[in-house]
């Protein structure tokens, strides 16, 4: 057994243990465990962090289908998140539907929208598609906030939408599992896509779209389907987010920053892979939360006044991301599974690859 295989096994075992802990431990977090003062997983902060992380796992994994597999740099996926959020939000707040009935319509609405905008947009290539999709992402948020009908905002306007707080015992646990389920679904969907004829078609499009068309791939249909699939998964996350967060408005449902973050997560983890974006989402989200001070571990740096920490955190985040994109273009997932090792030689090779 080579060293790398041994490492691979150790990491798999460790990974499974971490996942098992994450999935099962919350069950112990109910009253009994709380009374015993068991650490971390008994508290609501953990649930909120874990739910938000799972939410980004969904978004990064979904982005990977259009951005990583198909090679179309979609910069406006947050539109689907917002559409999902507003679909459930409107059905709950205005039509008084129960949450579980409203939720399945979130991915449907997002996918329909993706088909409609995908048909014209996916004719564009490269930067043109990236910029046009960003435009769509911004425009949808503005429309949602500003569309009026007879002087009354249709979607709650600038006041946003409030939903009733979802009445279910162990609410935090409930939404954690729901979001974790959505993350599981998106990873499973990616896994299935990569192994299917559809997936090969997408990869062919990424590598050479003309050639793919010549060998009989219906490129338009494939691209639109990939876009719609990504939209549906992102919309699902948005739908869960709406009821979990209780309040939605343009600012929290269409945050432009999420566009960038989900792409960074996919890049960080490794685009085009099954688990890469998920790994990237976990790593980057934990880093963001750590730097903003919401993790239970804190960092005291000498020579840095406490006031300067938030600013420093933003700078560190930016520098780290730049370093990763330059030196580890295949993402951190590349180091798992024994394909590559983090060595100076690897970094130098990466640098050669990413430079022009």
């Amino acid at each position: 057994m080579t060293t790398s295989q041994r490492w691979q096994r150790i990491l798999i075992v460790l990974g499974c243990a971490v996942i098992a802990y994450a999935v099962l431990a919350p069950l112990t977090s109910l009253d009994g465990a709380q009374a015993l003062n068991l650490p971390l997983l008994t508290d609501k902060l953990w649930f909120r962090l874990a739910t938000i992380t799972a939410m980004f796992v969904v978004m990064a994994t979904a982005w990977n289908i259009i951005g990583g597999l198909t090679g179309y740099a979609a910069f406006g996926n947050v539109a689907f998140f917002g559409i999902g959020a507003y679909t459930t939000g409107m059905l709950i707040a205005k039509a008084k539907w129960p949450f579980l009935l409203a939720l399945p319509l979130a991915p449907v609405a997002a996918a329909i929208f993706a088909v409609l905008v995908g048909l014209p947009l996916l004719r564009l290539r490269g930067h043109y598609f990236a910029v046009a999709s960003l435009g769509v992402g911004v425009a949808v948020g503005e429309l949602v906030q500003n569309l009026d009908y007879r002087g009354e905002p249709i979607f709650g306007g600038a006041s946003g939408l409030f939903m009733p707080i979802f009445a279910v015992p162990n609410r935090d646990l409930y939404f954690f599992y729901l979001m974790l389920g959505a993350a599981g679904v998106s990873i499973a969907v990616t896994w299935a896509v990569i192994r299917s004829r559809f997936g090969y078609g997408l990869i062919a499009i990424r590598e050479n779209e003309e050639a793919a068309a010549v060998i009989g791939v219906n490129t338009t249909a494939y691209k639109v389907a990939a876009f719609a699939l990504a939209a549906a998964l992102t919309g699902l996350a948005g739908g869960i987010f709406a009821q979990w967060n209780v309040f939605i408005d343009q600012e929290n449902s269409f945050p432009i920053a999420y566009n960038v973050e989900m792409i960074l997560m996919a890049l960080l983890g490794g685009t085009g892979t099954v688990f890469g974006p998920a790994a990237g989402a976990v790593v980057l989200q934990l880093l963001i939360q750590f730097l903003s001070g919401s993790l239970p571990i804190t960092l005291d740096l000498p020579f840095v006044p406490e006031d300067a920490m938030p600013v420093l955190a933003q700078v560190v985040l930016g520098v780290l991301l730049a370093l990763v994109v330059i030196f580890a273009p295949r993402g951190v997932i590349d180091f798992f599974g024994g394909r590559s090792r983090l060595t100076i030689a690897y970094l130098r090779r990466s640098l050669r690859e990413t430079s022009i």
């Binding site: 971490v18 971390l40 707080i165 945050p255 903003s292 919401s294 798992f336 090792r341 983090l342």
Partner: protein
Amino acid sequence: MKKHILALLAVAGLVTLACGSGSNQGAQGSTIVLGAPLGLTGSLTKESALTKQGYDLWLDWINKQGGINVNGTKHPVTIKYYDDTSNANQSAVLMQKLITEDKANFLLGPYGSAATATDAAIAEQNQIPMVEANGAAQSIFNQGYKYTFGVLSPANKYLQGVLDMAATLNPKPTKIAMLSADDNFSLEVAQGVNDYATGLGMQVVVYKKYKNGATALTAEVQAAKAVNPDIVLNSGHLAEAIAIHKAAKEQKLNAKIFAYSVGPSTPDFIKSLGKDADYVYDGSQWTPQVKYKSQFYLSVSDYVAAYKAKYPGEGDPDYHVAESTAACLALQRAIEKANSLDAKKVRDALAALDVTTFYGRIKFDSRGINTFKPMVVEQIQGGEHHTVFPSDVADKQPMYPTPSWDQR
């Protein structure tokens, strides 16, 4: 051992996360922990900094007194701040951290309506009272939440004071041109005017909405000029207020009253408009000239002096600062009245609170918002801010009517 360093780090991070909790579980200390996520970085940095000044000003004072008096024991106070990067979703995470990890006894509000709305839901689910000073949107208070209290007058009252004042003036102005940015707060301000004007025998003859942050507002001003209004009102922010006032001068839009919801109270307004800023009115939550009789804490003049001593070079305290301090005062008085640190008891005491402070009366209606404090009206006279209405707290008479542009 150079291999897999990154991979190991990632796993190590997770493990540390899994193990590193359960702090702050010690015996109930006598220190009262308050908490607030604020936008220390991001787009709301300036307003968040003012909010923090207001909180800190009270914090210094109360700890100089030895703390908050509960059952004869003085409890010192700390306020825990986090940076929510001006992002409402992050504000929610940090609120939860304040509650679970830092065991905050009570919460102070973040800055901005979106963050306040999100955090109100968190406070409600955790049943920890949150007293906020920077989310005036009424929608937050229409959800039936029991644990959120706002010390400011709701948005719809912002320009109603100007109308009340206008009704007392001679000749009485009647025709209103209403311009509004399209954000939540500004629209509620405008709606408040639309609802209120007819009751005073005035009419809104033109109502124009524009994109929040727009500074090319010539068309809107033209539309106002077309109806020859007595009163020009704007509900928006500083940049829009300046743009409208400049356009009004260029187009010789002469009205008897120019009043803007937000903007004229800041020094930048006078700085960029110079003499043209004179005669402009604004509705304000508070001004440094008001004459409220404080039942506890500092008098208005002592407050202004304390602010200038702690933050030299920043001029008079802005109303953001005052309302933030007022949120702390409401909480302090409620804890004293409840004579307990129990969240439920303090909530009930907040609901029953009725005090007058340097900031004015603080009393919450059944929804938890302070509808009992009037907005004051300021006017810029000779390059200085003066409070002109209501007359019992005013330091000057309104200069009325505003002369036409070619006569100044």
